[in-house]
Structures are given as structure tokens and as C-alpha cells.
Amino acid sequence: MGHYVLRRLLQMIPVFFGATFLIFLMVYTLPGDPIAALFGEKAADPAQVASLRHKYYLDQPLWKQYLHYMNNVFHLDFGTSFTGRSVSSIMADAFPVTIRLALVAFFFEIFVGLPLGLISGLKRGSIADTAVLLITLIVISIPVFVLGYIAQTIFATNLGWVTPTVQDSTDITQLILPGAVLASLSLAFVARLTRTSIGENLRADYMRTAVAKGLPRTTIISRHLLRNSLIPVVTFLGTDLGALMGGAIVTEGIFNIAGVGNILYKAIRTKEGPTVVGIVTVLVIVYLVASLVVDLLYAVLDPRIRYA
């Protein structure tokens, strides 16, 4: 197990540098000049432009810029946005919002998606199973921006149960609707994945053995069936938590939530290089950690991987 963890940690290093460098490269080779854009319509003073370029390290070759940037990142300095605000403080505002939203969505995936899949998988061919299949199919087919606006119209405008946009993201009740919308697609996948996995494992030989041992049905399901069936679901949920932490551009946009997705979208539009690279660098780390956790969890759940 120790070797496995060490190997996985070492693998993260090249992935981290590769991914961040690619992002760096892409952002800085985008057409358009952010410094010129700062001046807008006004004529720029060449001396001022040169000093700004120097300040933001833009007068250096790309690889030097990258090394300089990485050096700063390791000192937890993500640079300064072109508006003069430190990228760290921008992220410090945005990430808590996104994390709260992600946790609400994750809660829905686990406590709604899993039970639906469980019922559906255990009672194949029943009305409940058909209903779950149908509903999840609809959810998967409808794009999230449509679903988001429909939910907003029904629950906020027509029923008036919630405010149409999020005023205060620390109020969890305001995050329930956007959280549900954000969770919808993954929730449908979780339900279907659970259903399929349970269906497969129900037919497994070891389930027949468990019945032949005279175990009560509850023990068979909780101990033998679920333990095996949930391995792929847990893997999916772990990866999905990483994705949720990355913010949701569409959902955050619809409900006007100042999370990572929203900030990132605005930063890309205004060519805020330092902000984009800063956020994406953190997201790369979040993804890497999430996939590491998933792999370790996988090893905990499945001894065949642990001892491979």
C-alpha cells in the first residue's frame, strides 16, 4: 500500500507541470494584448506600457515567465491581476462559494442518486425501475442551461419558494436549487451506474454462495452486494467531486453565483491571464488530489487492487 501511494504521488509531479505549462502556453499565446486592452481607447504611453510589461514579466521569453510563475506559486503567490487585485484574494473569495455549492450538489448525488439506483437495480423491470430509467434519461437529455432556467421559473418565479438568484451564498437554503440543478446530470449517471452495477453483481456467483450460506437478505445486500456494487460508483463520485470543485460556469451564471466558474469565465473574456492561470493551476491541483483520493479509495474498497 505504501509503495502504491508513493508511486501515485510521484506520478502527479509530471502531470502537474505538464498541465500547468500547457495552460500557461495557451493563455499567453491567445491573440490580443492584455496591456493594450488595459488602456482601452486611450493612446498608451510607450514608457508606461514597457514598465507594465516588465512588472508582469511579459518582456521575458515564455519559458522564463513560466518558471518565474511556478516559483511564485510555490511561495503561494499567484500573481496580480491586471486590475491590480491579487489573484490569491480573488480565489479566496470565489472558492468558498464554489465549495459550498459543490457540497450541496454532491449531497444530492449521494443521497438521491444512489438510493434511486439501488431501488432500480434491486427491482429490475418494476414500475419504480422504469420511472428511474425514464426520469434519468430525460435529465441526461436536457442541457443544464435549459434545466436551470426551467427550475428557476418553476420554483422561484411561479411558486416563489426560493429567490431566483443567490443573494448570499453562505445561506445553504439559497444553494439548494442551484445545487440540485448542478447535481442533476451526475445524479442521473450515479443512479444508472448503481443500477447497472447492482444488476451485474446480483447475478454473480458469490451472491449465489451468500444465499446458499443461509444469510438473511439484508446481510446479503448490505455486506455482499453493496460492497461490490459501489466500487465503480465511488470512483465516479470521487472524480465528480473534483469536477464540481472546478466550478460550474452555466449554473453559476444562471443563479448569479460568484463562484470559480463565474470568475473564470469573466477572466477568460477579459483576457485576465494571471487570474485564468492562477485558477486553473489550483484546479489542476484539485483534480490531481481528487483522482489520487479516488485511486486510494479504490484500493481500500477492492483488495485485488491493493495487493496487485
Partner: protein
Amino acid sequence: MTTALETTPKAKERLVPGTPLLEVRDLHVEFKTRDGIAKAVNGVNYSVAAGETLAVLGESGSGKSVTAQTIMGILDMPPGRVTAGEILYRGQDMLKMSGEERRKIRGRKIAMIFQDALSSLNPVLSVGYQLGEMFRVHEGASKKEAKAKAIELMDRVRIPAAAQRVGDYPHQFSGGMRQRIMIAMALALQPDLIIADEPTTALDVTVQAQVMDLLAELQAEYHMGLILITHDLGVVADVADKIAVMYAGRIVETAPVHDLYASPAHPYTKGLLRSIPRLDQKGEELYAIKGLPPNLYKVPAGCAFNPRCDVATDLCRTEIPALHQVTDRDGAELAGRKSACHLWKETLHG
């Protein structure tokens, strides 16, 4: 060293003498599928007494495993369905029992050993857990007691270094060791009867013999009934007391094991025995019964074996043969010998 299994034999004396431990009477099982109704078991009768070994022999699709699964109550229903018959355990029809009553018999009174131990053991639970579960669920043992008993069981089936290996997972054991674990699991609560469904088929030949010997030894020691399901005539010769040969969901011949080998009374049995490779036949072509096993959706009229039989007559093609009591040339009944062939006399004596 005293193990959980070495306690005095349980009250097996309760059994009224002469009453078999388990008796299957006229069992019919069919499967309803999209292609129609497959008649997998068509009136099977057999019985096992304590300490006795019954070998059920047959090709794939002969209904031997389906019968066993029906006894065990682990047949998938649907698509499976018992349409007629009784399964008497100590004189009580298990098919009429409630689900909870049957569950209490499974594992505790009647246990089963499966063919492929790797897939039949749960891959994510340690063998110690899976063995200990028997004691925890059926006897309310604590975790610690269950583990201790699991180690005793592993010792009993001669798994080396049992105490160190109790926390290992099925995939960390060799095929033979895994099958020993399956045997240990079946033996855990000292059942009256063990049903072993092709217990050695997935193993190397050398390991097959070891596992078979172990099973036979433990069976004798605990005076259990054993139903040994196999398609391998070599496996049954040494361990079985009597044999039931199945074909197309029926028993076509039953006999004490040595009689069956010496003088089969059914053309199908004769064909099976001829198709065993023998050392003194080196260089000769191996005999094979012509044709294919019958389609269970459309079992041939009359004797199901007639299209493959060398001696079939018109009678065989129209009338299903009864299970005849077999007699010797002088007409004296041969104990335990029956044949479902219109021409059993010719087959046996001719």
C-alpha cells in the same frame, strides 16, 4: 487439538432408521424464457442417507445442477419454476416451507460447494470474514470467536499457516486452496448433507485428487450425506456409494457404483463408460456418443436418448420408458439397480 468440528456427532440418531436424509420425489423444473419453455428436470427421484454418497452423473444440460439448486433453494425463480414434486428433508417437504424456514436449513443443515471457488467467493471480503460469517449469522458468535473458528476450519481443511492467512482475500490463494476454503465454509456448521456441484472440475488433476480425498474423508468423519454432481466418471469411482445417471432431466440409470461400472444397464451409461480414455487403448480412436445432447425446448418423443442410441427401436421413439427394476439372468432383483430403458435386459445381459 480440538476444533469446532470435532465435537461429538450431532443428534443424527433422531432420524428414523430407514428414512433417508433427503429424498427428491418426482421433481419437475422448467424455465420460462423468450424462446419457450425449457424442461430442465422431468421427474427426478433420488435419495441420500446419512453417511452415504450419491453421485449424480450427466452431461451439461442434463438437469443435475438444476436439481441441486432446487434442493438448495437457490434456483433463479423466475425464470425457473418447480411444476411438480417434493423435496423431503427428514421427511418434511422443503418446497412447502416458508422462505425463512428454508433459509435456516441452508448452510446449517444442507450446505453446498460450488465449482468455481474464485467466482463463488466474495472478492472483496477476507476468507476469514466469509468463513466466520457462518458462525456470526447462524450462531450469534462474536467477531473474535468467529475469527478463531474460521482459523480452526482452515486448519481442518489443511490450509497451511491458517492463522496468518485468515485475513487474506480469495485471489491470494491457489485454486486448490480456494476450493478447500469452499469446503470449509460448507462444513462450518456440520451440516447433515453436502451438495458438491462439480467441486473439482476447475482444478488441476493432481489437486482434484487431493480435494476429493479431503471431501470424502471429512464426509466419513462427520457421517454426512453427500450428493456429488459431476460429469467426470473418474471422480466418482472411488468415493461414491451409488450413482444416478441423468439425461435430459431424467434419471436413466441408478446403481451401486461398482455394478454400474461393471455392467451398465442403459445404452447411455454404456456409451459414457466407453468414452473414458484408457491407457490400454493407446493409439485407438476414442469413442464418443454420436449426436448432441437434446434441446430442452424440444425433448425428443419417447426415450429422450433415442436419436443417439445404437439400439433404439420404434417403441423407444414413441413411449417414454419407465425406471425398471433391474434383475439378474435368473430374474432375481439386483438391489438398488434401476434402468429407464425398454431394452435394459438386452443391454445388461446381451
